[in-house]
């Protein structure tokens, strides 16, 4: 197992670590936003989603 990990690390030359780090950071943040979003209260969501159409306006059609 150790040899296997050592092999993977040795053959990791040329990997764009900066890119991978940013990628990982993004996905952590992304999953956090998704988690926070999914826990939202449905009533609050409905209120916000309807905000533009809740306003009284004359119709000119």
């Amino acid at each position: 197992m150790n040899d296997r990990i050592k092999y993977i690390l040795n053959s990791g030359d040329g990997i764009n670590w900066l890119g991978i780090t940013i990628f990982v950071v993004f996905f952590i943040l992304f999953l956090a936003v998704v988690w926070i979003t999914l826990r939202r209260n449905k009533d609050a969501d409905d209120y916000m989603a309807e905000m533009p159409i809740n306003e009284k306006e004359e119709s000119f059609e």
Partner: protein, 702 residues
């Protein structure tokens, strides 16, 4: 019991921005049509400096982006902000300063760009006094918006306003960083950034000008006007949250995809590609959220031209945000870059996404602020179909032409030579596509004329309610919710701060190492600063907008090194202020043009391109042989460059004029010896231009 407060919405400012958007949009699009015609009828350059393709192209892009779309954003934002926040705009005075200031900037652009005052940075061509004016007016808009948000009568801020906030924060950051420049004359400056670093910062700006001026602001408008017009709530408010944060975080990284296969370090190119591909997810999240808001009312779409405009706009957004990431994959970019494919791509965005959403929005707003019915639904329907067919007729020939041209550039014969070694063969091949494109543009503009007529008649039938009465319950205290995303939706300061953090990360990671780590740009010992005469020639090259048609970046492809010469290295551009990589090859790349042709060839070519290149569509530049070189500007130019870090000797500025005249005399004498007859030839701008062109790409051959 909650007190009901009476107030009024400022419809006057909405009307003003809408009219400005339509009028400047018409001008910008007509200039675009002229440019499209110039590409196959070069006589339409009219032999005047002010009407050549190179000078008018930035006028077209600036007019459409900042005048048509910009005023459209402000019209829509002022209309929706007030209603979503249930309050009037914070200050009538700030609104008026914003409106008149923005129009003055546009007029300033319309005057200075044809006169050749340009920084040559795409979508940031305006020179330093106008840059400063933009900063001031943008801050005025920002204060007005922020204060309006702070005095709202709604506890939580709706998603459309998040997008307006992101637009304001991002554009402020981009505009300031990309336009750091040192003036050397009333309307001229040299940029702080140079060469490859400048290219990265410019495309960090350029791409995000598209992202945060043309996209996030319009997503805000979409999240307000689509539900309004459909009378349906947003499909998924949860999705809009994920859409917003993912989009603004990812978008800012994508700029380097404009520089694939250039001498930009590979690690930045990779970041640009990866994040561009990732962009599909949030972009399509937004598109689906927009389209699915219409669930259950598709029958209304059949009857309502406003919804039709919105559907095409959102679909165009989806198309261009799929196409953009695809074009950011290196193997696709190798085909698409420098060709009309890119032009087709941006016009799907501009004509489809921005244009159609703007039109739908104005058809929605005008009857409501004039308190009357739309004059003619039928005419709006005609506008819709003319616009839609116009977009298709514009885009398809551009895709076809782009792929055709790149494949011709890359085609080798069995003996290893280029099949189309003469660049012109790959240009004339595109004429049928150029003709179809201009027909598409004409249809689109015809539709716009229908809109103008329809809205004038609508306004005539009604009366503007400049101050529309409204009422809403007083918000005595903002109800902060201390859980999840609701927490930030009610905290204005935190919302701005977190948005800034999300926006700033990408730029920092990409730009700071490029500036701090010297190994990113290996220096080349033989690369030296431009001579004074070459510098003057370079500034003429910039003035004439040559960068609009000629790149200076040979990519490391065999098809390019065979055609142009050795591929471009980052160390070759370290004295380039501004960098002139270009993004389109209507004509050939010029980075290795130095010493390729004799001086007399350049002289004849500039005065009459068709004398040396039969069939060329390049306009002639006869004024270069008549205009005197402005040697007086040299001292301040050299001093400015020394301040910025160009290693000229300390006393060089004082003697630069003498050096320049000496070099000009040598070139002029050689031309006269070659049979070219002209009085005082050594004093003419054509000599400086020749000096610059002959220097291009030659340093590494020393």
């Amino acid at each position: 019991m909650t007190k009901i407060e009476q107030f009024s919405y400022d419809n006057g400012i909405v009307r003003n921005f809408a009219i400005a958007s339509i009028l400047f949009g018409a001008v910008g699009m007509l200039v675009g049509l002229l440019l499209a015609l110039q590409l196959y009828i070069p006589e339409l350059n009219f032999g005047l400096p002010f009407t050549t393709f190179g000078r008018l192209r930035p006028l077209h892009t600036n007019a459409v982006i900042f005048a048509f779309v910009g005023n459209g954003i402000f019209a829509g934002a002022y209309y929706s902000l007030q209603r979503l926040l249930k309050t009037r705009m914070y200050s009538n005075v700030l609104s008026a300063i914003h409106f008149w200031g923005w129009q003055l900037i546009i007029v300033g652009a319309a005057i200075t760009l044809p006169l050749g005052y340009t920084s040559s940075l795409e979508y940031a061509e305006l020179e330093w006094p106008i840059d400063l004016a933009i900063a001031v007016v943008w801050v005025v808009f920002g204060i007005n918006m922020l204060m309006t948000i702070l005095k709202r009568r709604e506890s939580h801020i709706y998603v459309a306003i998040w997008f307006y906030i992101a637009t304001w924060v991002a554009v402020t950051m981009l505009h300031v960083v990309n336009n750091l420049e040192l003036p050397f004359a009333g309307f001229k400056s040299y940029p702080l950034w140079t060469g490859v670093q400048a290219a990265l910062i410019q495309w960090w700006y350029g791409h995000n000008a598209v992202a945060f001026f043309l996209t996030t602001s319009y997503l805000g408008l979409m999240y307000y006007f689509v539900p309004k017009a459909a009378q349906r709530p947003v499909y998924s408010y949860k999705l809009s949250i994920i859409h917003f944060w993912a989009l603004i975080f990812i978008y800012i990284w994508a700029g380097p995809h404009h520089l694939l296969y250039t001498s930009l370090p590979d690690w930045v190119q990779s970041l640009g590609t990866v994040f561009s591909v990732m962009l599909i997810a949030p972009s399509w999240g937004g598109m689906l959220n927009g389209l699915l808001t219409l669930r259950g009312v598709w029958d209304k779409v059949r009857r309502d031209p406003i919804l039709k405009f919105f559907v095409v706009a959102i679909t165009a957004y989806g198309m261009s945000t799929f196409e953009g990431p695809m074009m950011s994959i290196k193997s696709v970019n190798a085909i698409s870059h420098y060709t009309d494919w890119t032009i087709g791509h941006v016009h799907i965005g501009a004509l489809g996404w921005n244009g159609m959403l703007t039109f739908g929005m104005f058809y929605y707003i005008f009857p409501r602020i004039y308190k009357t019915k739309l004059f003619s639904v039928k005419l709006a329907e005609w506008h819709f179909w003319l616009g839609t067919i116009g977009i298709i007729m514009y885009a398809i020939p551009m895709y076809w032409g782009g792929i055709t041209q790149q494949l011709m550039w890359k085609e080798f014969a069995a003996d290893g030579t280029l099949v189309y070694g003469n660049f012109l063969d790959t240009v004339t091949q595109l004429f049928p596509m150029y003709i179809m494109r201009s027909v598409g543009g004409l249809l689109y503009i015809t539709g716009l004329i229908f809109l103008i007529f329809n809205l004038i008649k609508t306004a005539a039938c009604g009366k503007l309610e400049a101050n529309e009465p409204a009422e809403a319950p007083a918000l005595e205290k903002i109800h902060h919710v201390n859980k999840g995303h609701r927490w930030v939706e009610s905290r204005t300061g935190w919302f701005y701060t977190i948005t800034l953090v999300a926006l700033i990360i990408g730029g920092l990671v990409e730009i700071v190492p490029m500036i701090m780590v010297k190994s990113n740009i290996p220096t080349i010992a033989t690369v030296e600063p431009y001579t004074p005469l070459e510098l003057l020639g370079r500034d003429i090259y910039i003035r004439e907008g040559c960068v609009g048609c000629h790149s200076q970046m040979v990519r490391p492809f065999r098809s390019e090194t065979v055609r142009y010469g050795d591929y471009s290295k980052s160390g070759e551009f370290i004295y380039d202020r501004p960098f002139l990589f270009g993004s389109k090859r209507t004509g050939p790349d010029l980075h290795r043009v130095g010493k390729k042709y004799p001086d007399s060839w350049h002289y004849n070519h500039m005065l009459d391109p068709r004398s040396t290149s039969p069939g060329s569509i390049m306009p002639p530049y006869p004024w270069l042989k008549d205009n005197d070189i402005n040697y007086n500007s040299l001292e301040s130019k050299i001093n400015t460059l020394i301040t910025l870090g160009t290693p000229y000797p300390d006393d060089f500025a004082a003697k630069a004029g003498v050096e320049a005249r000496k070099q000009a005399k040598t070139i002029a004498d050689a031309l006269v010896a070659g049979g070219i007859q002209q009085d005082k030839l050594e004093d003419k701008e054509i000599i400086a231009m020749i000096a610059y062109l002959q220097r291009l790409g030659t340093d590494i051959k020393k």
